[in-house]
Subunit: 578 residues, 2 copies
């Protein structure tokens, strides 16, 4: 029993039993029963956990484990949403990110992200910002930055948790739409929004602005809001981005192209890797009356002949009603699908960056001797298409890679030298790895990421680099890796690292090898040149001395000595294949 003086009243069993029976969050038993539990006593405490309660207690799962990360995570979620909305509405994004201190606090900030997107209709605003697991992207197979319906509400929940303040939203859906302002709180026990709304005047044609007060810590340098936005601008050259930091500095990332990324198509699942459970569910929900039609119309890349082949292999009548199939028949169908050669998923569902743009992006950011990029064709994991892209920028051995002035990125105010060093690789240090998923930079949890694992498991010694066991290779190099997918499997809801699905690790391996081989040719050429230089140096250094010695021993005249020197040089160069 506790011996705290102030707690003694709370251990009366009456309170406890009563509380347990009620089963409301507020009335939790305030002290544990100290006798052994039984199935019955334990049953009384069994109850549902609201998803908001779960994530409040586990805010680190959402990227809110430290004040340092909190600001960046919130900015990321808001910017992701803005970019997704702009792209869907085919609007060139204009985004303003502001981080301001609350009062003179070094611990509390207001984060505001304003966009020129299509806006959000009035009825949906409270749900989008005040409810976890709510959104439009989860049930689609289509590449987008957001996918879970958690991010921005989680940022609001963290703000509410640390400052008690509601999320403030302004939104205007189109020129003739009515601009509205909202104050939204999340009722965590119900995972539902509590909100107020009012019509306002807003000078812009359309767009959304979200403001969240939150505990945070503002830093520059690695893994800062600044670095994130810079990398975001690199992978999204169609974005115009202004960042106002708490010290009054304004950084403007200018649009590098007026072309929006290719519009991606929503697709149906690719048959390969679809689990039995999903197949059973799809069959149950299908409107198609024959197995053949089901296969062709509910999946991508299945035509009449492939459907026929699958049915034949599975020993299932293609004209039978799919809903009448017993589980063993569906199991055979699944085995037949996995055994059948089916065309790779269409490229149209994902928007890789492309080799040229990757190299252009790297050139903009890193001054190096050699650039290479590889953009692999899409393949699938669990029926989800994905594509891996790898880029490498490599400097001279012994060199340090310097950041360039970042091309189109103009820093209007407060140019910070430390910022210019962020992407640097050093000859004696591990290479710099920059990771992206659906064009979003991943700045945390590098060591937990499948991308990092794949880079570490690649044998870079084959390509002329040093590499300590179980570590990143050493050298003046930046490795860029991008995964584009209709569903990126992140290791946690904070979307900071990629999960290690075998298919993804394999594609990463192939992509890194492909880029690595090209790098190897360059590095070896460099090494050969260096060796040749050394050899030629030897020849040039020692031949005059040799000639002097020969002249002395053989009593040669100067003409003979010159001839001897020329002959020696020729012979040595030939033997060295110079």
């Amino acid at each position: 029993m506790s011996t705290e003086p102030g707690q003694k009243n709370l251990f009366e069993p009456a309170t406890e039993t009563m509380a347990a029976k009620k089963e409301t969050p507020a009335k939790e038993p305030k002290s544990p029963p100290r006798s052994a539990e039984t199935a019955e006593s334990m049953a009384k405490r069994q109850r549902e956990i609201s998803v908001s309660e779960f994530f409040t207690k586990n805010r680190h799962l959402l990227g809110f484990d430290s004040p340092r990360k909190a600001l960046l995570t919130a900015v990321k979620e808001a910017v992701d949403n803005s970019l997704d909305a702009c792209e869907e509405a085919r609007i060139l994004p204009d985004i303003v990110v502001t981080i301001a201190r609350i009062g003179q606090s070094e611990k509390q900030f207001t984060m505001t992200v304003e966009d020129n997107g299509p806006g959000i209709v009035k009825a949906q605003v409270p749900n989008v910002f005040g409810r976890l697991l709510y959104g439009s992207k989860f049930h689609r197979l289509r590449q987008s930055r957001g996918q879970q319906g958690i991010g921005i509400s989680a940022a609001g929940m963290y703000g509410q948790l640390t400052t008690g303040a509601p999320v403030r939203v302004r939104s205007k859906p189109g020129k003739r739409g009515q601009a509205m302002a909202f104050e939204i709180r999340i009722d965590t026990a119900r995972n539902r929004p509590d909100f107020t709304e009012k019509a306002i005047e807003w000078e812009k044609d359309h767009g959304t602005e979200v403001s969240i007060d939150m505990e945070g810590e503002y830093r520059r340098g690695q893994r800062s809001v600044e670095e994130f936005l810079k990398l975001m601008a690199v992978a999204n050259p169609h974005v115009q981005l202004v960042f106002k930091d708490p010290d009054g500095n304004v950084t403007e990332y200018q649009r590098g192209t007026k072309e929006l990324p290719k519009e991606v198509e929503e697709i149906k699942p690719h048959p390969h890797g679809v689990e039995l459970g999903i197949l059973l569910k799809m069959i149950q929900e299908s409107e198609n009356r024959t197995v053949s039609a089901f296969l062709q119309q509910d999946f991508s890349r299945v035509g009449p002949s492939v459907a026929k082949e699958i049915c034949a292999t599975a020993n299932v009548n293609p004209d039978s009603n799919p809903r009448r199939l017993e589980t063993p028949a569906v199991q055979r169908l699944k085995a037949a699908i996995d055994a059948t050669k089916i065309m790779a998923p269409p490229l149209s569902c994902i928007a890789p960056i492309g080799e040229q743009l990757i190299i252009a992006g790297l050139k903009k950011e890193v001054e190096a001797d050699f650039y290479v990029a590889t953009s692999r064709k899409p393949v699938v994991y669990r029926g989800h298409p994905f594509a891996i892209e790898v880029g490498i920028a490599y400097g001279k051995p012994g060199d340090t890679l310097h950041m360039t002035d970042a091309g189109k990125i103009v820093e209007v105010a407060a140019k910070k030298p430390e910022n210019q060093e962020q992407l640097m690789g050093n000859a004696d240090e591990p290479v710099r790895l920059i990771r992206f998923a659906n064009r979003v930079p991943l700045v945390f949890q590098q060591s937990a990421c499948a991308i990092t694992k794949a880079v570490i498991n690649t044998n870079w010694k084959n390509y002329g680099l040093q590499q300590p066991r179980g570590a990143l290779p050493i050298g003046p190099m930046v490795v860029f890796v991008h995964i584009a997918s209709v569903w990126v499997p992140f290791t946690s809801e904070s979307k900071e690292a990629i999960a290690s699905y075998d298919e993804i690790l394999e594609e990463l391996r192939l992509g890194l090898m492909e880029a690595g081989r090209k790098l190897g040719t360059h590095v070896r050429k460099g090494k050969k040149l260096a060796n040749e230089f050394k050899t030629r140096n030897y020849i040039e250094t020692y031949i005059p001395h040799l000639v002097v010695a020969l002249q002395d021993i053989l009593k040669l005249d100067d003409g003979e000595a010159t001839k001897a020197r020329d002959n020696l040089t020729t012979v040595l160069e030939k033997s060295r294949k110079l």
Copy 2:
């Protein structure tokens, strides 16, 4: 547009609009609108995401990303539940884990875990096994293995997804209780169980058995079910455990003690680190009528004088009604709490293993020269008490640590040598790190874990070890780290790694330093001894030669030579302080 012949019918806009309006999972628009989206068209797709759907799509978050991991994760979740239930009911656990192939399959297995726990009442079984975010442990501040109400239902969901089969459960709640058998499926769109139940005869007095058919891959060695169970037995010597593997091998981990771990008390939150949002919620839900009573009765470690001090610092009347406090006053209250010295949380809410048992456990597992353990006092993060424990087993430099015969652990059949090497550390290799959270071994995601980060960030060179930059130290050493807490912050729902909260990193640092210092003394003594040995060797090697030379030069007789030798030895030994 897709060019697949079989898909052409699906692109009619009528279907799409209709489907979007209905908002049921089965009727998703099967093709994307190819014109630009508006706020209105996007709003039609906004909807709720069921937590089961979310985790089906994200099964890697639950530890089910590969068939290799799936079996181990399922065993872990079932065993965790059994041990928690037994301890709560104060029953010495008797657990049988069976993994059997389905037919001759190398890909499909049935995992069964049977315990002698208190059983589960009939009405709760379907919820416990067929519903995510449902349980008895989430809302309590009390150390337990399970905490989320996700684990075992997630294992069942994975089984259903990969084999289509339901979870099978038998349970008997006490001698006079009626044993029941269940078949449970999860309706993922609703996150609710679909089940059948029937009364059965079951020869045991009480207990629960869960069987799940699932896709998997059975392996031995590192990160295997076997290794997990072995480490589990080490950290839980009160458990009797039998493991039947798919090849018919039976391993029995015998109970090492009949004493159950100390019973832990449920506590109220510690005031330090409680967020403003939580404080506001607690005030709202409190039944106490004065701020002073609220502070004393809804928190642990707050007595009348501490409550008075907090109120004075916050400039809040201790007799005022807490519900009438405005947010600014609550903010002052929070600041005052953080500024006030408050007694550390009671040890009674957590059950650390203790220095003696850690050393005993290490001795049982690892043959080394030197053992040390440190069990730190509990502190808090976010109001949650936790304690860090560190153990080290260190061999001779140049040595390889060998596994002992594992003490009480008797391997009845199929003794496998590779298994005996699992905990080995080698002189030239990184030290072996074994991690535990609330007595559960953590076998995956080592690199993502705060424990690993803390070990890497400790400067082991101070303690006489080699350590490459940014890596684990090198040496014949096993490092054991345990975190015991009323709420362990894992980096994902699969509970494989600890999140990097600053307070936890700091305690890990202190614990590792404490153990490291003791290790350093030992390592340096070893080095000193080695040096002394070397010096003595010099003396013994060279003195005879010196004496011969002296004898020759000074023409000494044999007696004088012996005397000279003895004198020289004494002088040298004195000067060397041997």
